[in-house]
């Protein structure tokens, strides 16, 4: 069908908006330091150290998180593993925690004043440093790895496993040569995604890394401590190199190598039994890791009700009073989150619709819509400071809103795109055939079918916006201090009780929005058939 002028105009408008809010800030970061600044990087011992440390953490945390994720993915996709639903739920929990919460909870549990280390075991443990960060990142990014690998494992057709058995493979050989072999691209993909997250992890690092320099935190120290904007830009530019590399490796190499889809018809037959050693081994590992995950929530919630952590274990509500004094910050988070969510949802669905049309240069639009996924939060934060602080937007909450909205754009965009691909072309043609013009097709067919994607994109963007720290710390304005910023300050000033109380409120807010999203989707969206 010929492209009508309205569609073309919208296309150009969307391109301009993405150019301004995705490409321009990134461009500003990269050109802010001079060539000489870039060339002087090798002379700065501190930066080389930070770069080396970031890479080391990337390697060890990625390996451990992916390995644990693989065990969880395996356990939760085999029907004969006991407790698999519980394990899946447990492994998802870190996904909903603010990005500093695992570190905070483990300080409470395993730190010098730790409930487990000091009060139960009587140890004088120091969790600050690379080993603490390793533990924290392993738990924090386990869900990412599990979800990706489980998606691939689930797609392995049970008939293939039966066929291998039928051809003479024993149950171990089946797992080795079929199930895990087919999951290899998924494992590789999970490693790349986790590696990006580890490199970009600001929240956990800023709390628990102590004096251990890392690229993600260095940018903030430069700006906050020394007002060194150029240094901050240099550091995030250094951080961008590996994340962009990993991102495109994942997108253009690994994700095209997933061959589980080639096996023809889906099948509902059960998988062959899991070898008992493997089964019970997985149950053991999952139970242990599950306890560690539970401690994240238990620690923070307990911290909110304990008089003086590590000294006076009596219960109190004092911290809640202190937290209630800062309740305004929570509402500021909600306001900013709602605006960011609305923008992510609307722009994501619109761009997905545009890239689904046969328009020239739609790949450019697609590229700009997925690119933020490759950018660390601190990079986006510095980018928006450089791009918009000197504009009329500077000093308003809108810089933060837009930064969060466009950083989360890939989630909304990819969800809507996937949804659009499920809608057969013939459905649009059927509507046209029955007399609907272009606008009616959009209103009657695409809007209702994409409504679910829109609501979910809003919810994900909202939740991530209210729990964000890596962008918030760069773009906070005095009039709009948000909850995560307050919590971070409290933790660094050892006001643990109130920090825990405010974090608990944030958690309640997160889970309430998930609940509201579910019920809204169930009530508003009338497509029970296509999930």
């Amino acid at each position: 069908m010929a492209a009508d002028p309205g569609l073309l105009l919208t296309f150009l408008g969307a391109g301009a908006v993405l150019g301004l809010f995705v490409l321009y800030p990134a461009f500003r970061v990269l050109v802010y330091p001079s060539l000489n600044d870039y060339l002087s990087i090798p002379q700065s011992l501190r930066w080389l150290q930070a770069a080396r440390n970031s890479l080391v953490m990337m390697v060890i945390s990625t390996l451990s998180a992916t390995l644990l994720g693989l065990v969880f993915a395996f356990a939760t996709t085999r029907a004969d593993v006991p407790g698999r639903r519980l394990f899946r739920t447990l492994a998802m929990l870190p996904l909903f925690a603010p990005p500093f919460m695992v570190a905070f909870a483990y300080i409470l549990m395993f730190g010098r004043q730790g409930l487990i280390t000091k009060s139960l075991l009587g140890l004088n443990a120091n969790i600050f440093g690379w080993h603490g960060l390793w533990l924290v990142q392993t738990i924090a990014f386990l869900p990412l790895a599990m979800l990706i690998i489980a998606g691939v494992l689930e797609a392995v057709n049970p008939s293939l496993e039966h066929a291998a058995r039928n051809l003479g493979a024993d149950e171990w050989t089946v797992v080795r040569t079929i199930s895990l072999a087919l999951a290899r691209p998924g494992i590789a993909g999970a490693m790349l995604v986790v590696a990006i997250s580890v490199l970009a992890d600001f929240g956990n690092a800023v709390i628990i890394a102590g004096g251990f320099p890392l690229l993600a935190t260095e940018a903030w120290f430069r700006m906050e401590g020394m007002g060194d904007l150029k240094g901050a830009a240099l550091v995030v530019a250094m951080l961008l190199v590996p994340t962009v590399l990993l991102f495109f490796l994942e997108r253009f190499w690994v994700s095209r190598r997933v061959y589980t889809a080639v096996t023809g018809r889906g099948s509902r037959i059960a998988r062959p039994p899991t070898p008992p050693v493997l089964k019970w081994g997985a149950v053991g590992v999952c139970t242990l890791a599950g306890v560690m995950i539970l401690l994240v929530y238990v620690g923070v919630i307990a911290g909110a009700f304990t008089t003086v952590w590590g000294r006076d274990w009596s219960l109190t509500l004092d911290h809640w009073r202190l937290a209630a004094d800062r309740i305004a910050s929570l509402w500021a988070s909600v306001r900013i989150g709602v605006l960011a969510g609305l923008i992510t949802g609307a722009v994501g669905v619109l761009v997905a619709f545009l890239t689904s049309r046969r328009l020239p240069l739609r790949q450019v639009l697609d590229f700009m819509a997925v690119l933020p996924g490759a950018l660390p939060g601190v990079f986006v934060g510095v980018g928006y400071v450089l791009a918009f602080n000197a504009t009329p937007l500077g000093g308003t909450p809108w810089v933060l809103v837009l930064a969060l909205a466009f950083w989360h754009l890939p989630m909304g965009y990819q969800a809507a795109s996937a949804r659009l691909k499920q809608i057969e072309r013939a459905i649009e043609e059927a509507a046209v055939n029955l007399g609907a013009n272009g606008l009616r097709v959009l209103r009657d067919i695409y809007f209702p079918l994409l409504l679910r994607a829109l609501i979910e994109a809003f919810a994900v963007s909202f939740i991530r916006a209210v729990t964000n720290v890596s962008i918030v710390i760069f773009l906070i304005t005095p009039g709009q201090v948000v909850a995560t910023f307050v919590i971070l300050n409290m933790i660094q000033n050892n006001i643990w009780g109130a920090a825990a109380a405010l974090t608990t409120m944030l958690l309640l807010l997160t889970f309430a929005s998930i609940g509201i999203t579910w019920t809204t989707v169930a009530r508003v969206v009338r497509t029970p058939g296509i999930a």
């Binding site: 013939a426 459905i427 055939n433 013009n437």
Partner: protein
């Protein structure tokens, strides 16, 4: 049947890039007839259907609905409701909303639309399913909703694009009979696309056999089957034995040193004979008073229920021969093959 054709294509050509999907096709669909475009995949049959619906614009030529040239009318302004191969039911609308969608687009007020929806659902046997969603229906039921959705707008021409290909074999036969009955009952003009020759023979008033963007022959199912215009049509529709032969005299052909009597007239020279499997008879003993009897040997026998199919070696050729209502024993070994002269069709190409 009305004298004026309901749908007319005049010298229609459609290219996709460098490939010619439809090559200078002219073709009529008679009023109230059931016309089928039959051909292998990629022959251009669906492209013709979609040009009638308005999804593709011809690169050359014109399409008329009665006297009206519709070539430039956009698809949503044509009254050519289509049943899609994948049904294309709106997943977010229930059965009544799906069926009522075309009426809504035509601004039919609901006091009128309601009874019309009910009536057409009754017609396709889906009364009581109004509030179900497409995913709650079986494949056959979804197919009927798609049919009802097209019928309810009282289309000028009903277009059907391989509507049965997603159904299992038994259901396919049942639904095709239902579609045919509905079409006759409503006296709708229908244009149907399929690659299944048996389906085309069973359902159509007229068949147009297509290959590589052209219509090779159009005619009634009987004409297409018994008097195919060329070897492609003969081979695509039904099973065929081809015999290279020469017309040696009026009523006589010679094939591989054997002379056969024929009733088909043809000028002398090389010809291809078409022998349908059921046109040939098999005997254990040489039949008396029969023309065209040859000796043969059964190579393979296959029991198909209502008939037995034999592959018989005759004079260096292997023929497929169908024998109806086989008894308790299949034939084997040496047999006698009889070809009634009036069942030999000469392909003139």
């Amino acid at each position: 049947m009305n004298a004026q054709p309901h749908v007319r294509l005049r010298n229609v050509t459609k290219r996709f890039g460098s490939a010619i999907a439809v090559n200078d096709v002219s073709f009529d669909v008679a009023q109230s007839s059931f016309t089928t475009l039959l051909g292998p995949s990629g022959c251009g049959k669906t492209t013709i259907l979609r040009m009638v619906a308005g999804f593709y614009r011809p690169d050359a030529g014109d399409i008329f609905l009665r006297d009206v040239r519709v070539t430039d009318i956009p698809p949503h302004r044509r009254n050519t409701a289509m049943v899609f191969q994948e049904y294309a039911l709106f997943p977010h609308m229930n059965v009544a909303e799906n069926v009522g969608y075309g009426l809504r687009m035509r601004r039919v007020p609901s006091p009128e639309a309601g009874p019309r929806i009910a009536q057409v659902l009754e017609l396709v046997g889906l009364s009581g399913h109004e509030l179900k969603f497409p995913h709650q229906l079986s494949g056959g039921q979804q197919q009927r909703v798609a049919l009802a959705r097209a019928l309810v707008v009282e289309p000028e021409v009903l277009l059907l694009d391989e509507p049965l290909s997603n159904l299992d074999a038994k259901l396919r036969v049942r639904v095709r009979t239902e579609i045919r009955q509905l079409q006759q009952q409503l006296r709708k003009t229908a244009l149907y696309v399929t690659h299944d020759q048996e389906e085309a023979l069973a359902i159509s008033d007229r068949i147009a056999v297509m290959d590589r963007g052209r219509i090779l022959q159009s005619g009634t199912p009987l004409e297409i089957y018994h008097r195919p215009a060329n070897r492609f049509v003969a081979d695509f529709v039904g099973l065929a034995n081809f015999v290279d032969a020469r017309v040696v005299a009026a009523g006589r052909v010679e094939a591989r040193g054997v002379t056969l009597a024929i009733t088909d007239g043809a000028p002398s020279g090389p010809v291809t004979l078409l022998l349908r499997p059921e046109a040939i008879r098999l005997h254990r003993q040489p039949p008396a008073h029969a023309a065209n009897v040859l000796g043969g040997r059964i190579a393979v026998a296959s029991f198909l229920g209502t008939l037995a199919r034999y592959w018989v070696d005759v004079n260096g050729m292997r023929w497929t021969i169908d024998v109806p209502s086989p008894g308790d024993q299949l034939l084997s070994g040496e047999v006698f093959v009889e070809i009634p002269p009036d069942r030999i069709h000469i392909l003139k190409e």
